[in-house]
Every structure is written in structure tokens, then in C-alpha cells.
Subunit: 113 residues, 4 copies
């Protein structure tokens, strides 16, 4: 009963932070490392930062790999996984994560000089 | 180069808030209504609240409909769409959105009596 | 060294979902109930839904009570607390959470008739 | 009617992404640059990445500066501002943003060698 004739976006970026819930372990570094390996294997462009990971690609590819990340963490015995995500799409131009940061840095540099 | 042998979760809930960017219109009610129609057509279970919409189903179905929501909003002429999302999966039991709220209300009721 | 002459917004709404990390317990219902009691005591307007809680008030009051919620959950022995939040402010008019939902429902009702 | 005897956390990190709503301009780079200047003036530790900015400090300081960021963007004429935020607190140890990333990189390096 879904609407098969509406496409999902050809390009998006998603910044996500996955948290395992219900494990006695306070550190989530092992789980994050597991997810980084999965992202590497996916072939998508991604960057890890201290509060999450940004991944770029088609909507379907990006969401698939984040879903697989949930599965991979569940497979280590974690019963509950919670992800916080920001996703952006735009139709006017494609801009990489690196270009977005540069744009802001250029504005800041110009105003300081 | 993705990892086709890892499944995405069979069940998840996602709470999302979609924001159109770069439209002179301050109100996002029209866009939200458009997305509600899409959700209705999807056949998935969903609830709108004042700060977003919660939708339940398989990972792939849920992410597909949110991606379609981006497309639908882009199709109204919005160049940029930004979504903030919380997604949860659990392997120990399936619990609906309504059951989660009831669980908390029961604890509160018990402590007040 | 902060900028004391810039005010924080007089009014905002925040939708938040607090997750205790590093507890063996999968259920977070007890912690959520604890936070609901705190919100009730705060005197602010709030609504719980299945994926979080929406609270309205001045920026400082709202952020204070969410910070207190972290403390309350830490005080139950949880070493790590993670919150995902959406906050909105507007200067053109004040609109309650209930009014926002009604606006969308009115659009949907009009189009269906 | 708030609960003045419960403290907010002495330390937190917040990763936030602020979106101006209701401006015809698709690019948010100017607003992001404005917020970066505010953060610099605050004296808090912060890092910008392509999908947001991470800031560290006491709960009250961090939330104050993000609230001031809303005000600063409103002051440029934007009627509505929406922020998506992840906030974390922990009581077992203090760990900087840089240390968190290093922890994961160390695990990845060890497994690859």
C-alpha cells in the first residue's frame, strides 16, 4: 500500500549518532568502531566526529547502511539501539560536507581580515 | 560495494520533524499536511504531535516514506529540506508507541496513589 | 568571557528524548517517569508522547529543567545520559503546541471535504 | 515553581545544528558564521563540522550560548529558528571531544594491524 511512484532523493547527507541502550558498559567506543568498519565497507563517503558520523550518498544507500549499523550492534548482544539523525537534501546544487565547512570558514576569514 | 548480506531491522519506530529551508513562508503547516497525506497512503502506523511525527514499521518502509516526504516537499518548490529524526530498534520485544506511553503513565499513577 | 548583553529567547518549545546509557536495564520507563515528575514540579507546560516530551517556556527555564532531568537520572546511578532535542523559537507570534497540531489538522480536514 | 535545589550538570557536550526557517535564502552559511563568532566570544571549546557544531562546557553556559545563537539569528531578521541538538553528560569521568574520537580510532587501528 506504499506509494511506489514517488522516488526517494538521489542524494542526501545524514549525520547520525547511535547509542546502545541496556548494556552495562558506559563506553560506546567499541560499537562506534564496529559501525565505522561497516561504513568503510559500504564505499560511501563518511566522516566521524566527536558527536556522530556524517555519511553522504543516495537516500536509500545512506539509510540502508545506518539500518545495517543497528543490526550489527544488535548482533553484539545489545537489545536496544537508539539513533539520533539529521538528514538534509537539496535540489539546487550538490555540495559536499567539505564544501559546506569551507563556505563558512571563507565568510569568517573575510570578516576578520 | 555495500554489504548486501546484513539485513536492516524488521521493525523500528522513527520520530521525525521535517523543515523546509529557503522558503519565504514561516509556516510549515502546509508541508506537514502534505507529509501526513503521504503517511496515510503508506499504510504504516503513525501519530502526529506538535514537534514531529512518529511512524512505525520495518526499517526500509519507514525510511522510504520519510525519503518520499523529502521528495514531495521538494516538488512543491522547496530547494532544501532538513529532517531531524530519532530512530529506535529493539530485539527483545515489540512494543508499540501507545504501549510505551502507557508503561510510563502506569508508573506515575502507581507512585501517586 | 561570555556575552552577557545578548538575551536568550523569551519563549521556546523543546522536544526531547533522554536516554540513560550504561545501565543493564533495557527499559527506560522508570527514568522517563522520574523526568515527568520533575516537569510537573517545574510548572511549565509539557506533553509526553511515545518518542519524547515537548516542553514550553522561556529558553532558560526549559533548558534548566532538561539539565535537571540529566542530574535526576544521574542520581539514580546512571553514569551517562544522552538527550536528543529539537528546539524552536519564533519572533512573529506565539503559538502553543496544541495550536500547531490544530493548524495541520485544519488543512487536512479542508482538503478531504 | 521550579526546583531550585536540583543542579544542572557541571559539564556537558552539545552538538547542535541551527536552521533559519522562513528566509528566502537557501544558504545558511552566513547564519552559521554569525554563530561561530558568538561561540568564539563565549570562550567555550567548540568545533564546527559539516553537519553542526560541538560545544563543551557547563550545562548552563552551553545552553546559554545556543540560546544567544537563536537571538543573534533572529536579530538578522529571521522569524523562526529551529535547532536540532544532541547533549551528553557523564559522571564517571570527563572526556573531551578529541579524546572520544581518539578512543575509536585506537580501536580501529588495533584491529587493522
Amino acid at each position: 500500500m506504499s506509494s511506489p511512484n514517488i522516488e526517494t532523493p538521489a542524494r542526501c547527507y545524514a549525520d547520525f549518532c547511535l547509542v546502545p541502550v541496556g548494556t552495562a558498559n558506559v563506553s560506546v567506543a567499541e560499537e562506534v568502531a564496529e559501525v565505522q568498519r561497516l561504513l568503510k565497507a559500504s564505499g560511501l563517503t563518511y566522516t566521524m566526529h566527536s558527536a556522530g558520523t556524517t555519511v553522504e550518498g543516495s537516500w536509500d544507500e545512506v539509510m540502508k547502511v545506518i539500518g545495517q549499523a543497528h543490526t550489527v550492534v544488535h548482533n553484539t548482544g545489545v537489545l536496544r539501539v537508539q539513533t539520533s539523525m539529521r538528514v538534509g537534501t537539496r535540489t539546487d546544487k550538490s555540495q559536499t560536507a567539505a564544501q559546506k565547512v569551507k563556505r563558512v570558514e571563507d565568510i569568517l576569514a573575510k570578516n576578520e581580515s
